[in-house]
């Protein structure tokens, strides 16, 4: 049964020159799980907001959106608010109440439900979503994943029939993101709830969705089940980039014309093994040319935030060579961000030694550390911005902005907060690079970025490294580390437990590794990135059936 119908929907922002959405038409059936994909600026957020009356942006709109056979405008306020649920990107800012139970009750309070109804519904939500253990907690004390789960539960408490989500996992770490998608799938399957989700990270969503709608420059370029939709995107690299690794591999090898559209690692692995021989098992190793001089030495460092707290760094030791791109991977709470803060002299260490370019950290006096020596790009680029326009913000950093390809003319008078996530990251990077650092510290540089921005940042960082800069990055993103790093290290409980070149590192890991490595494991050795997988498949040639 059709629940949502969009007909000839066009939309133009008052300040925009071209329409953001052009004549879109599609319909969604009850119980469908629809993934909406598109690069930043393709209009997917605008489309999702137009489906939720309360959040619809102002501008010129034509065409119609119908819910359950009636136009969205004709719905009464209660139905519109409760039956169409909306979850946004940033978990923190959607939460309005101070206590978890109050947040769950908020929507029902708004609808004027009675105490007994609210009590029952809160109890149901707490039970179903596993919130009961932290039901009495303060919302500010929750982890990112818990916050987003609470946002979902708070919307679900209102009994929606359609759930719309705008990049809900962009700010979460991979484990929390995959838990969140699991929960979404559960409510879709168990409650037959219609789900429409826009997301950058599609590795896990594409295999489970019923339908993929791809948006490019405000137009629908594909609207079909994923296996049929993917071949339609072959000529659109911007969209292709965000697809699962297995699908990208098949399309890079031209196998989609033979009807091979794998979506998961399992299908990708089977495809490689069926179509390619493994006479050549590995690619020649690249020999690192980095000089053996240490840019950073981190020796036996102990740190805790408060006297009675737990040790976060427990005798951590590692070193980064000059001109090297070093990536630290690890789960949330393993202490990797803390270690980065210790290098940046934001966290004062309790014992141990940190040497930067051969000089002890404490011997850098009066901020000399931050002048032509070390720069730190925090996880949230917004924390770096102090001015009201980009031009003022990047005063003195124009050369860096130009080098990063940031359009300073177009965005001169834009508030830094109004830039897209990728552009904010670039602006922040330009700002920190203007101090001409020799050592660059990055905290989750790919967090919340779409595939295109992610690739752009990776390229830029590689170029900076090639120009002689030493880079130390902390990340959850295994694909990014495999693509960019010279050496990777795994952080666990405040210690480094393994180090190596991406090839050694990921090939030795069984779980914490890239999709390309998982797909080629057993068939080839030491393949960690997608281009490497493509190369070795081509090298071996197709098996004769």
């Amino acid at each position: 049964m059709e629940i949502l119908r969009v007909e000839n929907l066009s939309f133009k922002y008052p300040t925009g020159k071209a329409p953001t959405l052009k004549e879109l038409s599609f319909s969604v059936n009850e119980g469908e799980f629809v993934v909406l994909c598109g690069a930043t600026g393709s209009g997917k957020s605008t489309l999702l907001r137009l489906l939720k009356r309360e959040l619809a942006p102002l501008g010129e709109k034509s065409g119609s959106v119908c819910y359950g056979g009636r136009s969205l405008e004709q719905l009464d306020a209660r139905t519109a608010a409760s039956e169409i649920g909306f979850v946004m990107q940033r978990p923190e800012q959607q939460i309005a109440a101070d206590k978890v139970w109050h947040e769950l009750a908020l929507g029902l309070e708004n609808l004027g439900e009675s105490q007994d109804v609210i009590r029952r519904r809160c109890a149901e939500m707490a039970g179903y979503f596993g919130i009961a253990p932290w039901f009495d907690r303060e919302t500010s004390k929750l982890s990112g994943g818990q916050k987003q789960l609470l946002n979902l539960a708070a919307v679900m408490a209102m009994n929606p029939r359609v759930l719309i989500l705008d990049e809900p996992t962009a700010q979460l770490d991979p484990i929390a993101a995959s838990d969140f998608i699991g929960t979404l799938l559960k409510i879709n399957r168990e409650l037959s709830l219609t789900v429409i989700i826009a997301e950058h990270r599609l590795e896990e969503l594409i295999p489970v969705c019923d339908r993929l709608i791809a948006l490019d420059c405000g137009e629908i370029v594909a609207d079909a089940p994923p296996r049929e939709a993917l071949p339609l995107l072959a000529s659109r690299p911007a969209l292709l980039r965000m697809m699962p690794a297995a699908s990208r591999l098949s399309m890079a090898l031209g196998l989609e014309t033979k009807g091979e559209v794998p979506l998961t690692v399992r299908e990708g692995k089977r495809m490689i093994e069926e179509h390619y021989t493994n006479k050549v098992r590995s690619l020649p190793a690249k020999t690192p040319v980095a000089p053996e001089v240490n840019a950073l030495e981190f020796r036996d460092v102990w740190f805790r935030y408060s006297q009675k707290g737990e040790d976060i760094l427990r005798g951590t030791s590692f070193h980064v060579k000059q001109g090297e791109f070093f990536c630290i991977l690890g789960a949330n709470g393993s202490g990797k961000t803390t270690a980065l803060g210790a290098v940046a002299a934001i966290n004062r260490i309790f014992s141990g030694k940190i040497k930067i370019f051969g000089k002890q950290l404490k011997d850098y006096k009066n901020g000399t550390l931050y002048q032509s020596c070390l720069a730190w790009l925090p996880q949230d680029p917004q924390t770096l911005f102090l001015r009201n326009t980009l031009r003022e913000e990047l005063k003195g950093a124009e050369a860096e902005a130009a080098m990063l390809g940031l359009d300073l003319v177009k965005y001169a008078d834009t508030h830094p907060y109004d830039l897209s996530g990728g552009e904010q990251q670039l602006a922040a990077l330009a700002r920190v690079l203007s101090t001409k650092p020799k050592l660059l510290l990055l905290d989750e540089p790919t967090k919340g970025l779409d595939a295109a921005s992610r690739e752009r940042i990776t390229d830029i960082l590689r170029r900076l490294r090639d120009g002689g800069m030493t880079i130390l990055a902390v990340t959850h993103d295994a694909e990014f580390a495999a693509d960019a790093a010279d050496r990777c290290a795994l952080f666990f409980r405040g210690e480094i437990v393994s180090t190596g070149t991406p090839r050694e590192f990921f090939a030795a890991n069984s779980f914490y590794t890239t999709a390309a490595n998982r797909m080629t494991r057993g068939h080839y050795d030491g393949i960690v990135t997608l281009p490497e997988a493509v190369e070795i498949c081509r090298l071996n040639g197709e098996a004769k059936a």
Binding site: M88, A96, W101, G107, A154, N366, A375, W376, T383, V432
Partner: protein, 292 residues
């Protein structure tokens, strides 16, 4: 266990307000002694883990109040001794002791109260007064930690970009101002998201209700009625001034009119009830455990 901490927050608020207020009217030593005994008993029963040094501050406060009065006020007919030509009178001394006792009695009532009333309980009480106020309070309490965490992050990030140079107070103040001003922008920017999320969940679609975790159970109603009855029995004495005790110029005998006696008994019953409930519940628990 069903102790005073488990009652409905409205009943709790009413109890502590009446227990504190009734002893403050009339400066009657009997009422104040009853109040102090009741408050101390409940506080000690509930705060088992607190060290004796926790009471040091209140003792000091009592001593200061009791001493200051006779040293600065020289009313009263009975002179005990003369210091620097200033007479220290018996009446002023007794007044000081009574006032000191009253202050610490009220203090102990409120110390128990503040231990029991967590922020969400307090909100429930305010919510009963005004739903809008409760929502605003909840949203504010939510926003404060969010704001502080972000400000710490901004300060840390700014330290690495040349703000906050070591040792210069002027520079620290300047940097703090800059950070604070950008935080206002940040707060407004994020407020929009919160507002969107509220609106998406139907804020403003009609009359709101205010949900709370607490219900009025039977025992809450019984305790509420008991409080009202016991306060009601004191009212004639409190309002007619039958409890008023005069210190100056001469101490008169304690008020012993029937109304005053009734007030002593009912006030005593009021402030001892929570401690009694506490003791009964503990005895019951011990009995249950011994049966297992």
């Amino acid at each position: 266990m069903k102790t005073i901490a488990d009652f409905n927050p409205i009943v709790q608020t009413l109890y502590f307000l009446s227990a504190a207020l009734c002893s403050m009217l009339g400066m009657n030593p009997v009422m104040i002694v009853i109040s102090l005994v009741g408050a101390l008993l409940l506080y000690i029963l509930r705060a088992e883990d607190e060290k004796p040094t926790g009471h040091l501050f209140t003792l000091l406060l009592f001593a200061v109040t009791a001493l200051i009065n006779p040293l600065f006020y020289h009313n009263g007919a009975t002179v005990l001794l003369v210091i620097n030509n200033n007479p220290i009178t018996l009446e002023a001394t007794l007044y000081g002791i009574t006032a000191g006792a009253m202050i610490i009695a009220v203090l102990y009532h409120f110390r128990s109260f503040s231990k029991i009333m967590t922020s969400d309980r307090l909100m429930y009480v305010f919510g009963k007064l005004s739903g809008k106020f409760a929502l605003t309070l909840s949203m504010t309490l939510r926003y404060i930690p969010l704001f502080i965490t972000q400000m710490e992050r901004v300060r840390a990030a700014q330290r690495t970009t040349g703000q906050y140079k070591d040792g210069s107070i002027a520079d620290t103040v300047k940097s703090d101002l800059r950070v604070f001003s950008v935080m206002i922008t940040w707060a407004l920017e994020n407020g929009i998201v919160t507002a969107d999320s509220m609106e998406a969940r139907g804020y403003g679609t009609g009359k709101r209700t205010s949900f709370a975790l607490w219900r009025m159970r039977r025992r809450d109603v019984i305790f509420l009625l008991l409080i009202l009855l016991l306060v009601g029995l004191q009212l004639p004495a409190l309002l007619s001034g039958a409890l008023t005790f005069t210190f100056y110029p001469n101490i008169r005998s304690l008020p012993t009119s029937p109304a005053a006696i009734l007030a002593y008994i009912s006030y005593g019953a009021l402030v001892l009830t929570p401690s009694a409930i506490e003791c009964i519940e503990r005895a019951k628990w011990k009995y249950f455990v011994s049966k297992i």
